[in-house]
């Protein structure tokens, strides 16, 4: 957990800043973006290993952002946040390479568990990419 960097992407700035604070209190380094374009920039400049990405955003949608993240850095693990009662969007996202999805509002413990799992997956995929 020590060296992982998590990028939180959601157009609700109050949501991501507060969530980032809560993760930091638990020893997880978190940076934030409020648009898909901003997230894509940070993917290349700040090199986060994990992305927590809201699906419904103005401009570049969550799914489009996911596709581009995966094409730039395939080993980055993306956890989707879906705001709907249905799981369809989350499953669509997993087909496009997302690690998993969570329903909003999230449970912080559940998110951290998912981040830990995704970080392990990123570590093994990252090694695979280097070989």
């Amino acid at each position: 957990m020590e060296n992982w960097k998590v990028l939180l992407v959601d157009d609700e700035e109050d949501f991501v800043t507060t969530l980032a604070e809560r993760l930091k209190l638990r020893g997880i380094s978190a940076i934030i973006a409020t648009t898909g374009d901003e997230a894509l920039e940070l993917i290349e400049t700040d090199l986060p290993q994990i992305v927590v990405l809201d699906l419904i955003m103005p401009g570049l949608s969550g799914l489009e952002t996911l596709k581009q993240i995966k094409s730039i850095r395939p080993a980055v693990q993306v956890i989707l946040l879906t705001g709907r009662g249905s799981t369809k969007e989350g499953i669509d996202g997993m087909r496009l390479g997302a690690y998993d999805y969570l329903m909003k509002p999230i449970q912080i413990e559940e998110l951290i568990e998912k981040i830990n799992e995704a970080a392990n997956a990123e570590a093994s995929e990252g090694e695979g990419e280097q070989k």
Partner: protein, 219 residues
């Protein structure tokens, strides 16, 4: 309303429930952050700490309640998206009841589901099906005395599903033809155009210990 008007209402409602969900998510994380900070400083005391903690727990207890309602309301909004959907009756009744409970609470009436022993799944048009079941519950609710319970039981008979919405203790007893007093009551006549498409019939039940509605659905 025609299908386009209903679809518009569905889209608007789905969008609004999404926005309200975001608001609840911010409230949840903000109250969670205050809780985190209080826990980190649990040994330091300051004036009104106890009141602050109890208010915070009340806020945190209300968020899941709001979320549950929103999720069900969002599901209702999305029920207009498709017209031929596989549903499971116990799950569907849970969904309808969650949304009807606030109406029942106003009359101090309890809504109780007596679930079918095994899952019963079938294809239907979910929005008019929801409308039909909710209308029947509402009809029985109007007759229910304050403090009573409305029981909603289901059972499969050959190719038909029977949903029995009743006031009284007689939910386990099989309904006989003599218990059926009427077909579609006047108050529910507005459902008539939808019944054929839903392959459903509605009967008024007036047995010795049980009054209510029986919905008979060909599945």
């Amino acid at each position: 309303m025609n299908r386009d008007e209903i679809a518009f209402m569905g889209r608007m409602t789905a969008r609004m429930t999404h926005e309200i969900r975001n608001i609840l998510a911010i409230l949840k994380e903000s109250s969670g952050l205050i809780s985190d900070i209080l826990s980190l400083n649990k040994d330091s005391s300051f004036p009104h700490r106890e009141k602050m903690e109890s208010s915070l727990s009340r806020i945190q207890a209300q968020i899941p309640r709001g979320m549950d309602l929103l999720t069900q309301f969002n599901r209702l909004a999305h029920s207009v998206d498709e017209s031929d959907v596989q549903i499971e009756i116990n799950d569907f009744l849970d969904h309808v009841i969650t949304l009807m409970e606030c109406f029942a609470r106003l009359k101090k009436v309890e809504l109780k589901i007596l679930p079918a022993d095994a899952p019963i799944s079938f294809k239907t048009d979910p929005f008019p099906f929801h409308w039909m079941i909710a209308s029947c519950i509402d009809y029985v609710l109007r007759e229910a005395p304050e403090g009573s319970a409305i029981k909603i039981s289901t059972r499969k008979e050959k190719k038909n599903l029977k949903v029995h919405i009743s006031i009284g203790a007689n939910d386990e007893k099989e309904i006989t033809s003599s218990d059926i007093k009427d077909t579609l009551p006047q108050e529910l006549a507005y459902l008539e155009p939808s019944l054929k498409a839903l392959r459903s019939r509605i009967f008024v039940i007036d047995a010795l210990e049980s009054k209510g509605i029986l919905v008979d659905i060909e599945i």
